[in-house]
């Protein structure tokens, strides 16, 4: 007993040090695990509130770029609208394929108040949370393409797991239908990697990559980027480098997409396992 007390006396600082390191390591591991990362994140009231104050000021500097982006998106949408009314009124046979693209998503607008893109595991913070009807695993996009999906939510703020996160895996496809998995190797924030594309798929430099719609999170056909490098030699993994349409270092307003049928899809997928 004496020995034991003496031991604690002698190594009390070291033991305390180990104790603190143990807590820190637990938090690190939890943060990397999607299911458990609920304690340390920037979506709580204090950090979220401070970030939105700072973002209110810094937003003024990017007003011009944001306006340009909105105008571009409006132009695109107006063109779509015109096309749709024209075709559906004049040529009866060419209509929008409603079986494939019918309304099953709702959009909520939000603003990025904290951006990060230089780390290996990047998260963003938005100024909308559970009160605005958001929940875990909803797609986050803007006019140019995908950004990530919601991860943790407090009442007023939300944390987004960025596409620039080594844990993020998204179903993506070529325009011709061949699909693979999109992930990031943690190096360049403009380039992500498309893997598991079949070798017989005809891929060319400059091909557009979009979301595949085979997950319950992302609607199909959302733009991602274009192919800039194809690794066709003897490598085991068939990696295709994709340059994002989005410049992830300057993103402001975003849309959060809610899938109205997600519960149904999840229930169906889970029932198959039993």
């Amino acid at each position: 007993m004496q020995q034991l007390i003496y031991f604690f006396q002698k190594f009390k600082y070291f033991l305390f040090f180990l104790f603190l390191q143990f807590i820190a390591l637990t938090l690190i591991f939890n943060n990397l695990n999607f299911q458990n990362s609920k304690y340390i994140n920037s979506a709580n009231a204090l950090t979220g509130g401070l970030y939105s104050r700072v973002s209110d000021i810094s937003d003024y500097f990017s007003l011009k770029a944001t306006n340009t982006q909105l105008i571009e998106e409006n132009t695109l949408l107006r063109n779509f609208l015109n096309q749709k009314t024209n075709t559906s009124f004049t040529v009866d046979s060419i209509v929008i394929d409603t079986v494939k693209y019918y309304q099953k998503y709702t959009y909520t607008s939000a603003k990025i108040i904290n951006n990060s893109y230089s780390k290996a595991f990047n998260f963003l913070t938005i100024d909308k949370g559970a009160i605005a009807g958001l929940s875990k695993e909803m797609a986050v996009v803007n006019a140019k393409g995908i950004i990530g999906f919601t991860d943790n939510l407090s009442p007023n703020y939300g944390r987004i797991q960025s596409i620039l996160n080594k844990n993020t895996k998204i179903n993506a496809r070529l325009k011709n239908g061949y699909f693979g998995t999109l992930q990031w190797n943690g190096l360049d924030y403009n380039t992500v990697q498309l893997i598991d594309i079949p070798r017989q798929a005809p891929v060319k430099i400059g091909d557009t990559i979009e979301t595949g719609g085979k997950s319950a999170i992302f609607p199909e056909g959302i733009l991602i980027g274009k192919v800039i490098e194809i690794n066709n030699d003897n490598a085991v993994d068939n990696v295709i480098n994709v340059k994002l349409f989005n410049d992830m270092s300057v993103i402001g307003p975003v849309y959060v997409i809610k899938n109205l049928q997600k519960v149904e899809i999840k229930r169906l997928e889970n029932s198959g396992n039993e």
């Binding site: 820190a24 390591l25 690190i28 943060n31 340390i40 994140n41 204090l46 780390k119 080594k166």
Partner: protein, 167 residues
Amino acid sequence: MNKTVYFGLLFVFLVFLQVFVLNNILFLGYVNPYLYITFVFLYPLKKNRFVFLLLSFALGLSIDFFSDSGGIHAFSLVTISYFRLFFIRVFFNKFEVDYPFFKLNLESFGKKFNYIVTLTVLHHFLLFSFANFSFQNMSHVVLNTLYSSAFTLILYFLSIYIFSKKQ
């Protein structure tokens, strides 16, 4: 000024400086200074180290909260806080009896430089290793450590030079 109030204010100031100013610098796209480790250099040496270790942990954790990084800042900061005394013994040859009289800015520049560079590089290396969290991009980690350490050290010595009292 009262020591407790001074270090309380320093704590809050360092968190805000790091989170709202320095984290947004991103020189060349990824190089950031991490000046909050100044806390470890400024906090006085004491025999009782519980408060100091706990404060370091809290400082690191506050920065983790803002930067969504789990506990990597807390881990690396607590590590250099714990090994601070070891390096003081190695570089300055000071022991427990000397702690109350020890003042970092009264030491010669060479020793001070060695001490601060060692702790900074150690901290940055741990930080980037855990931020990367794999053995894949090791060159990336080493480069990041070198660039960011240089950035932190330049900023640290500049700010010490500016804010030090004239003799």
